[in-house]
């Protein structure tokens, strides 16, 4: 590891000012950053911890019936939160897929998203659950839908000094579910990840959102598949169409883990499965 300067600001404004400097990195849980620093793929000159800034961690209920999750909320807390497990099941399932329990006790939801890996385990769920991302900087605050956050692998729209503060989720969908395609049962990276959230009314899908991870340079929504499902009741035929549409929305790569073709096929399979399960949960 190269030497660096370490800062523990107590206010967002101070953190933002420090973060606006060149070669600065934010430290949340450190489960990605520290590994990168040890491997010398990250060589920041200053590391700014968000640990001492009040109000960045925790899950709170919003007035509109939704919830806000602070960026410094530990992934393990997201996984175990009754509110998330009941209302935003796909997110709890995504959180539970990250690393080991030890890692999840350190890692934060904000870090998992800020790292901007297309394979992040919580990102498909946050897409399906239509999360808004609140961003603060010295110039004030702004908010973007999560699907607009990413610009490429490891890349976001965040500009110098901008720090994500919380994820706001609207009131719960009727049912949601996340499935990760992997080889190892636990502690594996997502070959692909698919999350679905559905709103149901009397047996009809009134709205569906599908988030896909590790199938394109950024996490994406399968909007054509979503539109196919809207207004329909669940049948094998409509699921097959939605699966195919989701697969068509992908632009996966072939790498050492598997081929692009396999990824596309698995998007088809897992889209059908996640939507079916999300609908089943809505009925439960």
């Amino acid at each position: 590891m190269r030497s660096f300067e370490f800062f523990e600001p107590t206010t967002l404004a101070e953190a933002s000012r420090l973060f606006a400097q060149e070669h600065a990195q934010l430290l949340a849980g450190g489960t990605d950053l520290v590994i990168g620093m040890k491997a010398l793929t990250e060589t920041p000159q200053s590391v700014i911890s968000l640990q001492k800034i009040a109000g960045l961690a925790g899950i709170t209920t919003d007035a509109d019936g939704g919830v806000s999750i602070g960026v410094m909320t530990r992934v393990r807390d997201v996984e175990l939160s009754e509110e998330i497990r009941n209302g935003y099941t796909a997110l709890a399932e995504g959180a539970a897929e990250i690393g080991s329990i030890q890692i999840r006790n350190l890692a934060t939801l904000g870090g998992n998203i800020a790292h901007a890996s297309p394979a992040a385990d919580t990102v498909a769920a946050l897409l399906a659950l239509d999360a808004q991302v609140d961003i603060a900087s010295a110039d004030g605050e702004r908010s973007v839908p999560i699907h607009a956050l990413f610009t490429g692998p490891g890349q976001t729209i965040l500009t110098a000094g901008e720090i994500m503060t919380r994820f706001r989720l609207p009131s719960p969908a009727s049912g949601s579910h996340y499935i990760k395609h992997k080889i190892r049962e636990v502690m594996d990276l997502a070959f692909i990840g698919v999350a679905a959230a559905v709103d149901m009314d009397n047996g009809t899908i009134t709205g569906a959102r599908i988030g896909l991870a590790a199938v394109a340079p950024t996490p994406i929504r399968a909007t054509e598949a979503e539109e196919l499902l809207a207004g329909k009741s669940l049948t094998d035929a409509i699921l097959a169409e939605a699966g195919e549409a989701a697969a068509a929305a992908c632009s996966p790569i072939s790498d050492l883990r598997c081929s692009a073709e396999h990824r596309r096929e698995m998007v088809d399979v897992l889209t059908r499965r996640t939507v079916r399960e999300a609908v089943a949960r809505a009925h439960a």
Binding site: R184, E185, L189, F191, M266
Partner: protein, 765 residues
Amino acid sequence: MSDYTVVGQKVPRVDAIEKVTGAAHYGADVHPAGMLYGKIIRSKHAHANIIRIDTSEAEKLSGVRAIITQADVLSGRRVFATDKVLYLGEPLAAVAATDPDIAEEAAELVHIEYEVLPVVQDVMEAIKPSAPRLHGDATKDGPNRRGISTQLRKLARDKENDHGDEIRSLEAELEKYPDEVYYNISAESHTEAGDVEQGFADSDVVVEDTYVIPRVHQTYMEPHVSVASADSSGKVTVWASTQGPFAIRSGIAGTLGIPLTQVNVIGTTMGGGFGGRFGVIITHVPAVLLSQKTGRPVRVQMTREEEFLDGRPAPGCVIKLKTGATKDGRILARQALAFWDSGSVSGASIGSTIRVRGVYKIPNLKVDAYGVHTNKSGTAAYRAPGAPQAIFAGESQLDEIAERIGMDAVEFRLMNMREEGDAVPAGGSEPKVGYKETLQAVADAAGWWERETDENQGWGVAVGDWTNGCGPGGVYISVHEDGSVRIFHGSMDITGTDTSISQIIAEILTVPYENVTITRGDTDSAPYSTGSGGSVVTFTMGNTAKLAAEDTHRRILELASERLNTNVDNLELREGAVHIITADPPKSISLGELAAYSLSTTGGPIVGKGSFARQPSTPALAAQIAKVEVDPETGRTRVLKLIASQDVGFAINPMTVEGQIEGGVVQGYAWAMMEEMQYNESGNVNPGFVDYRVPTSADLPTVESVIVEVPAPNGPYGAKGVGEPPITPTLATMANAVRDAVGIRINELPIKPEKVVTALQRNGH
């Protein structure tokens, strides 16, 4: 067997507490005063000529104490590459610095100029004439299946006589078969018994297939580490994490031209070995060279990435296998042609190809095996070296035959298995073995005969054989005045061997197991001991310990006879005291009292000695059955049941034996389902645990172990080596179970989801 009180019991391991509390002292815990941190500078290309190595900038970095290259190896033995590198990560130089970060920074500042060469990673490509040659122009050396080149090489080596005519005629012969000439060959091995062509001709069913087994890493938890300290007299001390301190001592002495006893190797607690911890030049020699140059102790410790780039993993291989059988289920012939990926040097376990014969009566057998050079690091042993690969091919194909002739997979195997006195194809005859008992035991335990399956579920069975090695060892025993017993030896504890040794000595000296403790000596102090690999330790050191305990026993009775003033024949050692058998009222003297008494006798303290080198070993069988469920849409396989039986001869500690069985099964499962070192033209592309997957406890059900005991005549209490056999059949067990579940046979490991999906689609799924 119930007469025993300590052996045969599940006593806790002697190292249990220090392991679970973290008190155990591993290689990286060694920190002599003034220690420097070494770092090896490695090739960034898989195949390249080295134009220049420039260390000048790195040398200027503050905190750097030495940078060494091959020029610093005065013995001339190859430690670092000089003009050419053959794999990504090959060592080119090493640096010692006051701080590990400085060492790392210095490594980056060593400038190396390369001329990049074409790379070959696939053995089937490497044998072609078009392949880049790793070791010069090997065209003329290209061996072929007729063994002509072997003869040629033999003749060329004979400088005493002129074989010109013979050589010319053989070369002419060689040219007749250009397609059979293989290139980049590092070694070859040929075995033949009977007439395979006739055997195939007489067969009703002949199956031929190609099996591909990947290179896998031993993935011991503790990466290679050594701390070396060379003093001004030239004496070298090395703290080494190794399976064989004495092998490391002679390796270092030989490589660097140091007198043998000027090297002292202190074995540190081993964080796993599995055969991969015998290497001399991986870290030990660089550490010694850096210490010699700086005059300070130096630690060289590998990162996990370095382990993957420059460890010595198990070789992958391609095996073309053909088997013929009659329709009533007799195997008549088997032929194998194997290409083992030995990497940049020779040394892959190509001889293990013979294990395709299994434990079956096969009258006609032919095995041709080649080691093939590719742009990878060299290989080393991994738990029954070569056997899991060969047995995967053999046992997969056996299931195919059974299926074609409509026989049950267990019945088919039982019918063909050898028994005592049966000829071993190309290798003598069987002693008393427990093959059938072991397979029968696992079938019974698994409920094979009444097995049930739901949709997409299946059962697989396979067996694997292995025979433990044997080697020299020595043990000393002292009995102290408090009646406790102290053992002294120089063998490294591997998966509970010190526990077994303690049990054997406690049994013979009739003392509580807790009263026996072990001190491990270094190579300066302890008697020679063979390396802890090849399932030798309990066999070798168990026999040694037994001899030492019997020697101690003799001395105890001798002392007691003197002290109690009676003939030795009237005495009996039991429950930690010597009793006069015929005395009434009873009369005895405790071991502690005898030890105290011994200090003032002419004969002196109670010391026993045992020394042993070799006795014939007996083959052991591992038989396994798995029940799996395959998701045909995602290709993922879940193991529902895993039952493993093993003939262990005699289980000195059934708990550690079960641990060995479980460990072997898990490693075999991993090799079958997920582990694979992946390479492309730039080298190893998954040098870490993110993309080199080892299983976790969540991937497997509890392994059910079934211990079978058919005693080995020369093993201590009948014990056979237990460490290696359990990995040998698991690869085929898994493939056979997947086949039974969804009707596809995966011959190219690992059985990754994508391969299953693709195969099912090919099957019209």
